[in-house]
């Protein structure tokens, strides 16, 4: 088989990880959204490469959906939202950047160890599995970490979507995606989730006049 | 212990019972007289004649009884209950005969609680008139009684345990009248314990003063303040009998010499004589104690009873645990 495709996939996967790290260290909301968009485009590219390189044609739908929904649709919705709610475009951290990056480094190591048994389980492990799987797990964990360490409601949406990107990447890497109908369902769900989350951010902003989740602390105990 | 069989023995038993009944009715005023006389002598007074207590009782019986308007039937019944229970205990006690008529009934616990029944009613009657003194006396009497009872049970425990029975008759007949048993340290300690109990239970100095007229220090007298006439006579008589009961306990359990060994007339008469000597002696000792001690404050009395309790416990320890 042509070695270019796996090589490109590896490269893109690494780039996805880099964008994730950039998200972690970023301070501007808009930049956040753009990075996420970039990440999604690269994800779509990975999927496309899988189609080309491995002949998994059913993923083509995913490619289109990823590009449409994640790379274009959701970023647009989020940017609109950010404009509408007129929040300070700075991001509040509850954990500072240095420590965040350290934690993320640790997460990457953990992801590698977690991926280890999965990789070794297959007698002939493809390059894609060996390289991409750890990256996808890292992206997923970092996405979760972003959610726990950022205060703005919008950043949590992006964290969640990053997580999902990670999961999707892992799906691509080890199983070349799910059966198509399942894939469709998952995409639909994610789209709806993003929309609903957006609606809630909007409503929260309207009601509380802020999207800082620190004010969302009336319900305790 | 069992009643003798045969017609003759039953007759003898009946006779003995009658003698004992008469004795416990007749003796107590005398004992009271002896104490009063000895006290007087110890204080360099002439004192009333020995018959004075009899005359007092007789006089009281002749007088009209005053009954408070606030009282109920409890007030009237109490003297009879007190007198009856006390007298019953006295007739069940071992005194001077080997075959006391109802000897098998002279269970120590029963006797203690029979006395308790009398006290219960007396204490109630004191509350019946609605005067503060009655309540005061009643409260103190019941308090002291509750502290006395454990000491009392414990004081005869050692002796009872060696006899293997709580039956006073059995205990009395099991104590061997030898010097070694008399001067046994355990016996002496137990005797001391029971002696203190006796003082407390019969309302003698240093626990109570039977002759006091200072209301605030009274215990027994405060309770019977409202009584007069025959009611008072019965109560006074009963308390004299009670003293005799405790003297008999002290005398017969710890100095068992003198309880007749058989039913023969000689033994019987000797028994009575020795018994009288013992009782007389104890009366003098009590008089001595009363003359040389002051009455304790009410809240010192528990300490004294604690002493009695400890003495009894020590006697038990000496007898059974350290051999």
């Amino acid at each position: 088989m042509d070695q270019t495709v796996p090589y490109l996939i590896d490269l893109l996967a690494a780039a996805i990880l880099v964008t994730t790290f950039l998200i972690v260290s970023s301070r501007s909301l808009i930049f956040y959204v753009r990075l996420f968009s970039l990440q999604s485009i690269m994800l779509g590219a990975v999927a496309l490469l899988v189609v080309i390189g491995y002949g998994e044609t059913h993923i083509l739908v995913s490619v289109v959906l990823t590009l449409l929904v994640k790379a274009v649709g959701i970023p647009i919705v989020l940017s609109r939202l950010i404009d509408r709610i007129k929040v300070p475009k700075e991001i509040d951290f509850s954990v500072n950047t240095t420590i965040s990056l350290l934690v993320c480094g640790f997460l990457v190591i953990l992801a590698n160890s977690v991926a280890e048994p999965i990789i070794s389980s297959r007698p002939v492990s493809t390059a894609m599995v060996t390289k991409v799987l750890p990256i996808s797990i890292s992206v997923m964990l970092i996405g979760l970490f972003i959610m726990t360490s950022r205060r703005k409601a919008v950043t949590q949406i992006i964290g969640l979507l990053t997580m999902e990107n990670g999961v999707f990447l892992s799906g691509l890497s080890i199983t070349s995606g799910m059966p198509m109908i399942v894939e469709l369902g998952i995409f639909f769900d994610i789209l709806v989730a993003a929309l609903i989350l957006g609606v809630f951010v909007f409503r929260i902003n309207r009601t509380f006049e802020t999207v800082d989740s620190d004010t969302l602390r009336r319900l305790r105990h | 212990m069992d009643s003798p069989n045969g017609m003759e023995k039953q007759l003898v038993t009946a006779a003995i019972w009658i003698v004992q009944l008469v004795a416990v009715l007749a003796l107590p005023p005398l004992v009271n007289g002896i104490i009063r006389k000895s006290k007087a002598r110890l204080q360099n007074r002439v004192g009333p004649p020995l018959s004075q207590s009899y005359s007092d009782l007789f006089k009281l019986f002749r007088k009209e009884a005053l009954v408070s308007a606030t009282t109920s039937w409890i007030f009237r019944a109490a003297p009879y209950v007190v007198f009856t229970t006390t007298l019953l205990v006295a007739t069940l006690m071992p005194m001077f005969s080997p075959y006391p008529p109802l000897g098998w009934m002279s269970d120590f616990i029963l006797l203690v609680y029979l006395l308790g029944l009398g006290r219960f009613f007396l204490a109630l009657s004191a509350l019946d008139a609605g005067s503060s003194f009655g309540g005061l006396g009643s409260s103190r009497e019941m308090t002291i009684a509750s502290l006395v009872e454990p000491a009392m049970i414990l004081s005869i425990f050692a002796t009872a345990a060696s006899a293997g029975s709580l039956n006073l008759n059995a205990i009395a007949s099991s104590v061997s009248p030898s010097i070694s048993s008399l001067l046994n340290p355990s016996q002496i300690l137990a005797f001391a314990g029971l002696f203190i109990v006796t003082l407390a239970e019969t309302g003698r100095i240093p626990v109570d003063n039977p002759a006091t007229h200072l209301e605030l220090t009274m215990i027994h007298e405060a309770m019977i303040l409202e009584y007069s006439g025959r009611h008072l006579a019965l109560i006074e008589w009963a308390s004299q009998i009670k003293l005799l009961i405790f003297f008999s306990l002290l005398g017969n359990l710890f100095i068992p010499t003198g309880i007749a060994a058989s039913v023969s007339l000689v033994d019987f008469v000797t028994g009575i004589a020795i018994y009288l000597v013992k009782i007389g002696g104890l009366a003098v000792v009590v008089a001595l104690v009363e003359s040389t001690n002051a009455k304790l404050r009410l809240f010192r009395v528990p300490d004294l009873l604690m002493v009695a309790f400890t003495l009894s416990l020590l006697s038990l320890v000496l007898r059974f645990l350290i051999r």
Binding site: L110, S213 | F61, M105, D107, D128, G130, S131, S146
Partner: protein, 689 residues
């Protein structure tokens, strides 16, 4: 054969009658007063009818249990075919029959009493509910002592607790009732936790919840399991029985319930704890470790002495009685402790004396305590207050109630010739006999226990002089005592019945003892026909003091009283009495407020045992215009409930403080919630590596 058949039928009849009563009650008793007077009268009849049904039920089971006790054979009753726990069988073995007898006797009296008592609630409170709970309570108690399966036992045990809970909170508008209910249900639930644990431990060895299988396997369990079972039973049943220090619910709960129910609770329900202990300690576990008996003995002594001391400090008539229940449970446990100690040591002779003493006192306490509660109920019913300081002189207005209370008071003070004495005497004997044969280590415990028992009963006498004297004697202390009437005949009849029982059991205890001996034999797994040891023979059978003496004592008491009266006549004593006012130290007359109070009465004891009570007082003098004339003086006297202030409250406070800290977990920050997920995931992954 015919014999057992009859008792079976009677037992089923009684169960059915309880069920019918429970169902009919809420249906027949209207909540609101019917408009017509005929309707109201009809409602009254309905209530009476339902209580009569419960009375019939109790009577039936009374007879059934008596038959079983006499025939000394166990009877199985299986009225219902199938339940999720398997076959539902009630068994009347001697032990169950005895407790059933106690329950039914009191149940009968209380049902009769309630005929009159509940009428006063009609249309004011939900009498239908009372009828339902009353019948269910009796039914469940009956079941508790007769079921033969661990799960079922827990079910009926919990059912009994629920029924009692709603009875305690029957007058739920009052804050103390609610508090008492909460305390009760919380404590009893903790108890159930231990009971379930106990049954599960037994189950893990026998692989079945049947009592029969426990009986076979439990005695052969390893000591660890046995001790666990013992410990769980002691706590689980101890809470229900009100053993100090597990008693705190009892003095709150018993007074809160309506008085007829207080009588059932105090007289009978706490005995189910005793039943459980006997069942588990002897019937299941067989022999124990030497220290078990001592543990029980220490609890017993503590409960009896502290129980009576706390009772002395109470001015609330029903609370006072409730504390006395704790005391009497202590006395019952003394017998059980003796039985445990000597059964373990292999001396069954003395064990039987102890056990019989415990059982006998159970019966006696049931009769006199319910008598006392019923007569206290009569007092509360007519005066509307439980506070003794507001009562006084009731003997003139409630002569019968007063007399019945007096009977109960004499009985509970263990004075001859009533029944309290008979069983305490037996307990004394058990200790005394125990001393004879015990090893050195046990020896010291016996006389000290005896002394403490003597202390307890003497203090009880003091307490009841106070309770009776302050409540019924003297003059009335408040307006509560103005216009009051004696209770109706049915309430008096119930009290009379119990009073007669007190007298009967006291005068002829041998009758009871001869029927209790087979129970003890059964419990200790002895051959009933086997000869008793010499000690037992001397203590129970052949000892005339308890067999014949009481009758004689009674006769002699009467005889000598006659002698006294005759003597007065013969001595030509003056038989005239003149009615005069009480001497008032020369003042114009005595005011009721000059009388001794309950607080004053107990002062010497409060001072002597101040280390237990830690009394404190605050004196508040208002407007001292001149040092000699003080217009109002207010004295607040407090005694500490030591277990409450030094054990339970600190414990509860520290638990609550800890919980408040733990509650910080729910921060309200979504980030921290996500962090929980994140960290858990990381840790799990880390551990899975």
């Amino acid at each position: 054969m015919l014999y057992s058949l009859q008792s079976t039928n009677l037992f089923i009849l009684s169960l059915l009658a309880y069920v019918i009563g429970a169902v009919l009650g809420p249906i027949l008793a209207p909540r609101k007063a019917p408009a017509s007077s005929a309707g109201r009268r009809l409602a009254g009849y309905a209530v009476t009818a339902v209580f009569l049904v419960s009375a019939i039920a109790s009577l039936a089971s009374l007879v059934a249990s008596y038959m079983v006790l006499s025939s000394r054979a166990s009877v199985d009753v299986s009225p219902f075919p199938l339940t999720p726990f398997g076959h539902l069988t009630f068994r009347l073995d001697p032990l169950s029959a005895f407790f059933l007898l106690v329950i039914s006797l009191v149940g009968f009296a209380v049902s009769i009493y309630s005929l009159g008592y509940a009428r006063s609630f009609l249309f004011k409170r939900h009498v239908g509910l009372l009828l339902f709970l009353h019948n269910s309570f009796l039914l469940l108690m009956t079941s508790v002592v007769t079921v033969t399966n661990g799960v079922l036992f827990v079910v009926v045990w919990e059912g009994m607790s629920i029924a009692t809970y709603f009875l305690i909170t029957y007058e739920h508008e009052s804050q103390p009732s609610r508090r008492a209910g909460f305390l009760y249900i919380a404590m009893t639930h903790v108890g159930t936790f231990f009971l379930i644990l106990m049954f599960l431990t037994l189950f893990s060895h026998s692989r079945s919840f049947d009592f029969d299988s426990f009986r076979i396997t439990a005695s052969a369990m390893p000591w660890g399991s046995k001790t666990l079972v013992f410990f769980c039973a002691l706590i689980g049943f101890g809470i229900k029985a009100g053993v100090i220090p597990l008693h705190i619910w009892l003095p709150e709960a018993h007074p809160a319930a309506p008085s007829n129910i207080s009588a059932l609770m105090s007289g009978v329900m706490i005995k189910t704890g005793i039943y459980g202990m006997i069942r588990v300690f002897f019937d299941f576990l067989g022999t124990g470790l030497p220290w078990w008996g001592f543990a029980v003995l220490i609890l017993a002594l503590g409960s009896s002495v502290l129980g009576v001391l706390f009772a002395l400090m109470e001015h609330d008539l029903k609370r006072l009685l409730a504390y006395h229940s704790i005391e009497n449970i202590g006395i019952i446990l003394m017998g059980i402790a003796v039985a445990l100690i000597f059964h373990q040591a292999g001396n069954d002779g003395i064990a039987i004396v102890g056990l019989v003493a415990a059982l006998f006192h159970t019966l006696n306490h049931a009769t006199f305590k319910s008598l006392l509660f019923l007569s206290a109920g009569s007092v509360v019913h007519s005066t509307g207050t439980r506070n003794m300081e507001e009562l006084g002189g009731l003997i003139k207005r409630l002569p019968y109630t007063a007399t019945f209370f007096l009977v109960g008071a004499v009985a509970i003070s263990a004075l001859p010739p009533l029944n309290g004495f008979a069983s305490e005497w037996l307990t004394f004997q058990a200790f005394f006999r125990g001393f004879d044969v015990a090893e050195l280590s046990v020896k010291t415990a016996m006389p000290i226990s005896m002394a403490l028992l003597a202390l307890t009963s003497a203090l009880a006498a003091a307490c009841f002089v106070k309770a009776f004297g302050i409540t019924f004697l003297g003059t009335s202390r408040s307006r509560h005592v103005q216009d009051i009437h004696e209770s109706p005949w049915n309430m008096l009849a119930a009290m009379g019945l119990l009073a007669a029982a007190c007298l009967f059991f006291g005068i002829d205890p041998s009758l009871v003892i001869s029927r209790l001996q087979p129970v003890a034999d059964f419990v200790l797994h002895r051959n009933p026909s086997g000869a008793l040891s010499v000690d037992v023979a001397r203590s129970i059978s052949a000892n005339p003091t308890v067999n014949e003496a009481p009758v004689l004592v009674a006769v002699l008491l009467l005889g000598i009283a006659a002698i006294a009266i005759v003597a007065i006549v013969v001595l030509r004593g003056n038989r005239r009495s003149r009615v005069v006012p009480t001497w008032a130290c020369g003042l114009e007359g005595l005011a009721p407020r000059m009388q001794y109070t309950a607080t004053g009465f107990s002062k010497p004891i409060r001072m002597i045992f101040s280390s237990v009570f830690r009394p404190s007082r605050e004196i508040d003098v208002r407007e001292p215009m001149s040092p000699y004339f003080k217009p109002t003086i207010r004295v607040d006297l407090k005694t500490e409930a030591i277990f409450d202030t030094h054990v339970y409250r600190p414990l509860m406070n520290s638990v609550l403080a800890a919980l408040r800290v733990l509650r910080k977990v729910q921060t309200g920050h979504i980030q921290s919630y996500l962090a929980y997920i994140f960290i858990t995931l990381i840790v799990l992954l880390w551990m899975a590596l």
